[in-house]
């Protein structure tokens, strides 16, 4: 169900230069939602606004960072009994290969993020928010600092904001090129001025986060979704992207709201597409993306950023959540729950498309090299495991693999997952496991003969990264 006339929310005004300033945002109805929220009183003992936490829960808004965790639920886990100051950390350390949605939101809509911060801060009872921005995104940092400055001048930030009696501060903070700082506890370590080492959970950040105080960590796109959620209300928000249920009436959506799909790789029109989470992979790749580049057949799709299991396109049938049998995995809906059933994950909705000329051994080598480079080195299974995997795949890639290397890859990958502090080890193990099982013949062929199957088939036209 492609909604052709869907009006973008996060991408409102995207790709138009010079439109991000406060006057432009106010003209679009900006800060109205924040005004609405700030007028509500806080609970005297818990210092939060329970009605808005319930509202966000009711809307079923799910985090856009990758895990799809319900935002309202996250807010309700905060240790409200603690007398300490609470903090909000906005995760703008977008580094997952394939993902580039937050960057666009931050560049063209910085005030939407600040307004989202205000809503989250008042609801949870927070005075200080920190936006952790990836070091490479200089333009985002530039726009966000200037937008914050505008907001301070206009009284949307600072002391006694909009007469609410509460102080609100937002501070942009620049990272410096470490993938691991996108992990919530790694981000908090980095924010505190340390290496971006993730910490053991529990205690979760909601109980003991930044500076050992209760901290809410939300993705930038999640925060940017809040003004719209408050504007339309929870009921309407939960119906965005709803499909007809068994009785013909639209049924509540488990993944409501719009998602920014980052479509990259071998398609005619790669780009960021904002759409409710009811579209299928076919609609994304062939309708929005214009189809395969140069009309070369599709081989594989990574649906949610490079750490998610890759899906092989084989046209086999698949059963959707409503029991309907679909003849083709391309007709699968791109939502959090549906992709889980297909043994993959939506993650950050970064869709990487590969055509049949891609040598999967080289693609996996590229990814494993990335994860080995980005392992923080705290836990042995990840630090050593990712290195071993890189070495083995490098050997295979260069045609020096042995027939049992295939088994070895599998064994190392399975021993890595679930044994470390954070999910980075799983982020390596998942694509390795999925790629070598789904393209077993390619790996076995190159292990046995030392030659890439794709190169043998396509010669010079083969894509070896």
């Amino acid at each position: 169900m492609l909604i052709k006339d869907y009006k973008p929310v996060l991408f409102d005004g995207a790709y138009v230069r010079g439109e991000w300033a406060l006057d432009k945002y106010l003209a679009k109805g900006g800060y109205e939602s924040a005004k609405k929220i700030l007028a509500l009183p806080r609970d005297a003992t818990t210092r939060n606004v329970p009605s808005i936490i319930d509202e966000v829960k009711k809307s079923s808004l799910r985090g856009r960072g990758g895990a799809g965790f319900p935002t309202g639920m996250k807010w309700s886990f905060v240790d409200y009994k603690s007398k300490k100051n609470r903090y909000l950390a906005v995760n703008f350390d977008e580094s997952e290969p394939g993902t580039c949605k937050d960057r666009v939101v931050g560049t063209y809509n910085p005030h939407m993020i600040i307004e989202g911060c205000l809503i989250a801060m008042h609801t949870v009872g927070i005075e200080n928010a920190y936006i952790y921005i990836r070091g490479e995104f200089v333009e985002v940092f530039d726009h966000l600092t200037k937008a914050c400055a505008e907001a301070y001048k206009a009284g949307y930030l600072g002391k006694n904001v909009l007469g609410s009696g509460f102080d609100f501060h937002v501070q942009p903070h620049r990272g410096a090129g470490a993938y691991i700082c996108g992990e919530e506890t790694g981000l908090l370590s980095s924010l505190e001025g340390d290496r971006g080492y993730p910490k053991v959970k529990p205690p979760f950040p909601a109980v003991e986060g930044a500076w050992r105080s209760p901290t809410v960590v939300n993705n930038a796109s999640t925060i940017a979704s809040l003004p719209h959620l408050i504007r339309v209300g929870a009921d309407a928000y939960s119906m965005i992207g709803a499909k007809p249920g068994p009785d013909g009436k639209p049924a509540k959506n488990n993944s409501p709201g719009s998602q920014v799909y980052c479509l990259s790789g071998h398609v005619k029109k790669p780009g960021n597409y904002e759409h409710p989470m009811c579209l299928t992979m076919r609609e994304l790749v062939f309708d929005l993306g214009g189809g395969m580049k140069d009309d070369i057949p599709l081989k594989a799709i990574i649906p949610g950023g490079s750490s998610m299991p890759l899906m092989r396109y084989d046209g086999k049938s698949y059963v959707a959540s409503n029991g309907k049998e679909l003849t083709d995995s391309l007709d699968m809906e791109m939502s959090f729950d549906e992709l889980k059933k297909a043994n993959s994950l939506l993650g950050s909705a970064a869709v990487i498309v590969m055509n049949e000329r891609v040598c999967m051994v080289s693609a996996l080598y590229n990814l494993v090299r990335f994860y080995h480079h980005e392992s923080c080195g705290q836990c042995t299974p990840c630090r050593e495991g990712s290195g071993w995997l890189e070495k083995i795949i490098s050997k295979i890639y260069h045609g020096k693999g042995k027939p049992d290397d295939f088994e070895r890859l599998y064994s190392v990958a399975t021993q890595m997952s679930g044994t470390t502090i954070c999910l980075l080890a799983d982020s390596v193990a998942m694509p390795v496991g999925a790629t070598i099982t789904k393209f077993k013949e390619e790996f076995q062929h190159i292990c046995k003969t030392g030659k890439s199957m794709v190169v043998e088939k396509f010669g010079e036209k083969a894509i070896r990264l």
Partner: protein, 189 residues
Amino acid sequence: MAFAFNDDSEKQFQWLLKRYPEKRAVLLPAFRLAEEQQGFVDNPSMDYIATRLELAPAYVYGVFTFYSHYRRPGDGKYVVQVCATLPCGLMGAQQVADCFKEELKLGMGETSSDKKFTLRKVECLGSCTTAPVVQVNDDFFELLTPQKIKEIVAALRDDKVPPHLSNGPSLEGGRCSYKPMVEAFPDGK
């Protein structure tokens, strides 16, 4: 060579100290201030920052080297960072890398003898839908072709604003600054 913050950096540093509940949190922003001021972060500036934040120099070195994005002494005037991760790789990052190698007459990881260019392979730059991508200092160049690369390198050689910029015009050193916020909210607390 001793390092000290100039008035500009000092003002921002003092303001930053008020923005965080703990002094140590200013460490990463302080590296940026030093980087802005002298173009790179070296040992004297790290020692200076360690003293200012009351941290052990060894700790400061450790944190600094954990991160890969700061400019270090010896880097060329223009650091060309070629993204080599999967989405860019699929769209021809290797050709882009080869093209830069040929144009600049440099190998990967090398700096030219006149200290003008450094060529480096980096991991995902977060601009995957417009692959292949390079970042030169703070500026992004997207959807690269050999022709575009030639034009970009030619402009940089003459220290002109390069064509095909994907972001707004480069604001020499003005982009990593907290100055607008310091002015709007001088109190800081």
